[in-house]
């Protein structure tokens, strides 16, 4: 009997457990999945909690509900992967041997990385919305807030769901407008990049939204520290931005055990060097990495994990049958951008093609407008929660191609490729 071990029972790990359980011979392979806790959060829903669009209970299920029978589920925290010995050690003291390892331990926000972020104003006037706790406490704060300067700040460029902070800004505009207090709130979007939109087509199609929604963008601002006494963000080049309410997107890091196992890349952010096409670890050939845990230059998002999953399944089957791994991940990502007032935009892109305008051919529900703000896209975003629980996690294939397709996309003269 051989052992296939999956670390992490989040979106990517759960999906892989379901896919592999269907295709591996259970007389030859035993599948074990390990996670430190038993709750499965629908992370895309965290965005909606602060505005009362979702209630906290809408995003919480147990991990066990989505794991197939026949897969061993161990609730314990991994302390180390010992790649040379082909085993992992757990905090509870056990050692779990493996023949093939899938690392799907994700990414988490780490406010402690930035001086002043997690100090006296934390969860009083400084909140995150990338955690269950943060988004739930922020809902209470917004409910009672009297207005002032609302600052949304990205501490780093490498974050989960890179469009969520912008969606937060759009939803905040709608929320305060509907409460009749938009004039009491100034919204600032403070980013280390050159703007809220950085790619030509997206800037052209969606750039006007910021002005329309009276969101002030402060670009090229790389946060060094937060001065709690003066309620001020201070950048590395000594620029200052005052706030009354700070919604921070803290530094994102991979699991601590990546560092303990000496497997991280040179960022020091605990993301694992991974082949961007095959998803094999660059260090150990019987280790594969999927989802937010990798260092591949794709977005850290559920749709990416899903498309990676289709490729990874093929490559793992090739690997265990001693065949060349021919499936290649192209960086495909697909996501809705909620813009408030019951509307959303949709983007679809990969490693080489920036988000383009046009129509996205989605079977059953019909085509959706790319880079356009529509009601249909908003319903697509809301419907995605059902799709997530019932199709994505259970390892079924979405009726969308794994590789990005140019069908329906508007191309001007040449395809703009960025690498």
């Amino acid at each position: 009997m051989k052992n296939l071990v999956i670390l992490g029972a989040g979106t990517a790990g759960t999906m892989m457990a379901n896919k592999l359980n269907k295709v591996l011979n259970n007389k030859l392979w035993s599948i074990t999945i390990i996670d430190k806790d038993e709750i499965h959060y629908y992370q895309p829903g965290f965005l909606f909690i602060p505005f009362g669009i979702y209630q906290p209970e809408d995003v919480v299920r147990t991990k066990l509900e989505f794991l197939p029978r026949g897969v061993n589920f161990i609730v314990d925290e991994v302390s180390r992967i010992e790649g040379e010995k082909n085993h992992v050690t757990l905090k509870g003291g056990r050692t779990i041997p493996y023949d093939l390892l899938i690392v799907a331990t994700g990414a988490n926000v780490v406010p402690e990385e930035t001086p002043g972020l997690k100090e006296e104003l934390w969860q009083k006037d400084i909140f995150d919305f990338y955690t269950y706790e943060g988004s739930t406490l922020l809902a209470k704060k917004l409910d009672n807030w009297k207005g002032g300067k609302l600052v949304i700040n990205l501490t780093e460029t490498l974050i989960k769901c890179p469009v969520a902070p912008l969606e937060f800004a759009f939803l905040a505009d709608a929320y305060f407008t509907e409460k009749g207090m938009r004039d009491k709130v100034e919204i600032f979007y403070v980013t280390p990049l050159s703007g809220a939109f950085t790619k030509p087509k997206a800037s052209k199609m969606l750039g006007a939204l910021l002005e329309e929604k009276r969101i002030t963008v402060i670009p090229d601002f790389y946060l060094q520290e937060v001065d709690n006494g003066r309620k001020m963000l201070i950048s590395y080049d000594q620029k200052e931005v005052p706030f009354d309410l700070l919604v921070t997107i803290p530094v994102n890091k991979g699991a601590d055990m990546v560092e303990e196992s000496n497997l991280g890349d040179e960022d020091g952010l605990n993301f694992i060097p991974t082949d961007k096409h095959t998803l094999q670890s660059k260090k150990f050939e019987n280790m594969f990495v999927i989802g937010d845990a990798t260092n591949v230059p794709a977005s850290k998002a559920g749709s990416v994990a899903h498309f990676e999953g289709e490729i990874l399944l093929e490559n793992i089957l090739s690997y265990i049958n001693h065949l060349p791994m021919e499936a290649k991940f192209d960086g495909h990502a697909n996501c809705f951008i909620e813009t408030g007032f019951g509307k959303a935009a949709l983007i679809d892109f990969n490693y080489n093609t920036e988000p383009l305008a046009g129509k996205f051919p989605w079977p059953v529900v019909g085509p959706m407008g790319l880079l356009k703000v529509t009601r249909v896209n908003h319903f697509g975003k809301l419907a995605f929660r059902w799709v997530y629980w019932h199709i994505l996690l259970t390892g079924k294939t979405l009726p969308v191609s794994t590789h990005m397709s140019m069908a329906g996309k508007e191309v001007e003269k040449e395809v703009v490729t960025l690498n």
Binding site: T157, P162, T198, K199, Y222, E266, L269, P355, N419
Partner: protein, 103 residues
């Protein structure tokens, strides 16, 4: 696609003036781009530029933090060398793509 002519050589750039092909980069071109950004390049600047070019060639996504961990400069020194938006400006001078988000 736009082109600029530098020392009688045609160079392909995008709409923001970033090189489309890092292989067309030369140190002389770096001096020219730096001049446009009011920066006078020193050996330290070139150490950073060469590091950025090497990392880009390896396919490593770049960030200010990563430059700060490069062992060549810390983040404050990086800002001092390329004031304003250090990664955006140094990437242009190094002949590699502008750092972007997904949109």
């Amino acid at each position: 696609m736009e082109t600029l002519v530098f020392n009688d050589t045609k160079i392909d750039v995008n709409e923001e003036g970033y090189l489309k092909n890092p292989a067309q980069w030369t140190p002389e071109l770096a001096h020219e781009f730096a001049h446009e950004a009011n920066i006078t390049l020193t050996d330290k600047h070139f150490e950073v530029l060469n590091w950025l070019r090497a990392k880009h060639a390896e396919g490593v996504p770049l960030s200010i933090r990563k430059v700060g961990n490069s062992g060549i400069v810390d983040i404050k020194q990086f800002y001092a060398l390329f004031p304003g938006g250090p990664l955006k400006i140094s990437s242009k001078i190094a002949g590699i793509p502008k750092p972007v988000s997904c949109i």
